[in-house]
Amino acid sequence: MAITDAPKIITRRIEHPDSHTLERYLATGGYEGLRKALTMTPEAVAHEVDTASLLGRGGAGFPAGRKWAMLRKNPVTFLVVNGDESEPATFKDHLLIERDPHQLIEGVMIAAYALQVSQVFIYLRGEFALGLERTQAALNDAYSHGAVGNDIFGSGFSVDVVVHPGAGAYICGEETALLESLEGKRGFPRIKPPFFPAAIGLYGEPTVVNNVETMSNLPWIVLNGGAAFAALGEGRSTGTRLFALAGHVNNPGVFEIEMVKTTFHDLVYAPVLGGGIPHGRELKALIPGGVSAPWFGPDQIDLPLGQDEVADAGSMLGSGSVVVMDDHTCAVRASWRITKFFARESCGQCTPCREGSGWLEKIMERIETGNGREEDLDLLLDACDNIAPGLTWPPQQTTICVLGPSIPSSIGSAIQMFRDEFLVHIKEGGCPFD
């Protein structure tokens, strides 16, 4: 395993300080992918994306081409772009939105053409004030440039794009909650199956919801061909992918890496990537794929960064974030904070999630603050079991959306990997790391 010299597909422009401007975008091949797409049939464009076998970069990893194929039997659809990035320690879409908004808009236009959609909404996380301003400015410029709006580049194809701000709710990253939010309502996820957004989406009409990173890959795929994208990576995990590395590393940041060819070890320790753990400390655990994912121990660090490889090992690549925890980290405190996050962000529709997250958070707090009881470990696991019966991976679901079944991951991992640490907290009546 090593770091490959795969091309930078979506981050090649961000070295320039003015990467968000139309001038820089046009000077670096901008909107050439859209121009090429408009000379092809919509079906041919969709075929390239299918060939690329581009897995959705939002977290679930559903192939974008297949998602689109579900739409084609319907006469009209909306395209909604999910830029509500709020999975803890995930900050890759933030980079793409702020630093290369034209690439996002070009990708959106290519998708709109392939799907023959006339209306697109780009839903951006409300806390991205700069991202909202840059995307709106880029959109204004794209309209003036003729890349968005009426009769795009003289092709006869017309699309309108609207930038829509969220208002601070993790759950709105869930696509059906996002659609509710876009309809001006509370962000309550919708019951599915049977009706996914592809059948009943925005205003009850067929809708495709795609992630920002997924869209940002499209200009390159159209220009270079789906086969060139599929030639990168391995198996089902094609192309490159953004990994957001955070926590105890010397060089945290977002890295574009060819899938499968690189390992977690490379990501954390390679000098050109994470650069190792500060103060010469040892790795205690890492959280792949966002805080909804089960943790990995040091013995799993040689796993490749691939969708199926990580899934087979009992976790997920999820949102592409990787959090590194060194050996001075309190596992109880870390999983308590993650649980507190879920308790705050549960939308409250389903009892197992709403009540369960609150219970778990309170129990975790009392263990961390020295008021834990020996039976608390069983109580924690029992409460987890009520949310996701059997504590399997992937989890069983008792709730409308997957926020609920995500709650037990961190507690389950922490107890499984660091049970002794919980017992020390309980027996000594406090946190040994304080």
Partner: protein, 235 residues
């Protein structure tokens, strides 16, 4: 029943509870300039109610929070009840239905920041500002918030002021930041709370609305046909 019984007042019909507003409604609380921008936003959406959250952001520019008055105006513009505006607004962390300070300072303590000193920074902020997270300083300048992940995890502990990133903070840099906020030294890059997006859309919708309406009607027709067919197959 005696002859002297007074007639009871009849409750208003249910329909009267819904405002008969719309984009042309008369407004008492939004300024004329804000109302114009609100109407421009509404025009971007196929269904009026979709503009609810953008309008809430817009209305927060006036007072920094959603006063009951502006929520009445938003309801009138969108032809929904004020309760529906309140109901949506209270779901979202960024929409404030109670007064906040001129500057809302959000300190993230989620996992990546927690590992890099966020709790210590938040404790420092609470003690130096003299308020707990969620509180506002007595002079009304600063509201302190304990935030969830703000997606800037390579600059930890992460802090936003009025949803603008201010980079990784130490207790010392945090103190300097607070005095800059009080003196107005950062007013160029950090507008007061409520102003989210300073870039206005410069163009209206351009795709043929008639064609879109026809396509949507066709979709609705196809959907109801399929539903009817499914119902027939099921019965």
């Amino acid at each position: 029943m005696s002859d002297t019984a007074q007639p009871q007042p009849q409750p208003a019909p249910m329909t009267a509870r819904r405002p008969t507003g719309g984009p042309a409604a008369t407004l008492a609380h939004l300024s004329p300039a804000t109302a114009t921008r609100a109407r421009n936003l509404i025009a971007l959406y196929p269904e009026t109610r979709s503009a609810l959250i953008p309008l809430c952001h817009l209305a927060q520019e006036q007072e920094g929070w959603l006063t009951p008055g502006v929520m009445v105006d938003i309801a009138a513009l969108l032809n929904v009840t004020p309760a529906e505006v309140l109901g949506t607004a209270t779901f979202y962390d960024m929409l404030h239905t109670e007064p906040v300070g001129t500057h809302v300072v959000s300190v993230c303590t989620n996992i990546a920041c927690l590992l890099n000193g966020a709790m210590e920074l938040l404790e420092h902020a609470e003690s130096t500002l003299g308020v707990n997270a969620g509180g506002t300083t007595p002079d009304g300048v600063i509201t302190l918030e304990e935030a969830e992940c703000l997606a800037d995890c390579d600059a930890t502990p992460c802090v936003q002021v009025n949803h603008r990133y201010v980079g990784a903070q130490t207790p010392e840099s945090f103190d300097a930041l607070m005095s800059d906020l009080r003196s107005g030294a950062r007013s160029a890059d950090i507008p007061n709370h409520g102003t989210l997006n300073r870039v206005e859309r410069t163009t209206g919708l351009q795709a043929d609305r008639g064609q879109i309406a026809a396509e949507r009607a066709a979709t609705a027709g196809a959907q109801s046909e399929r539903a009817a067919a499914a119902k027939q197959a099921g019965s």
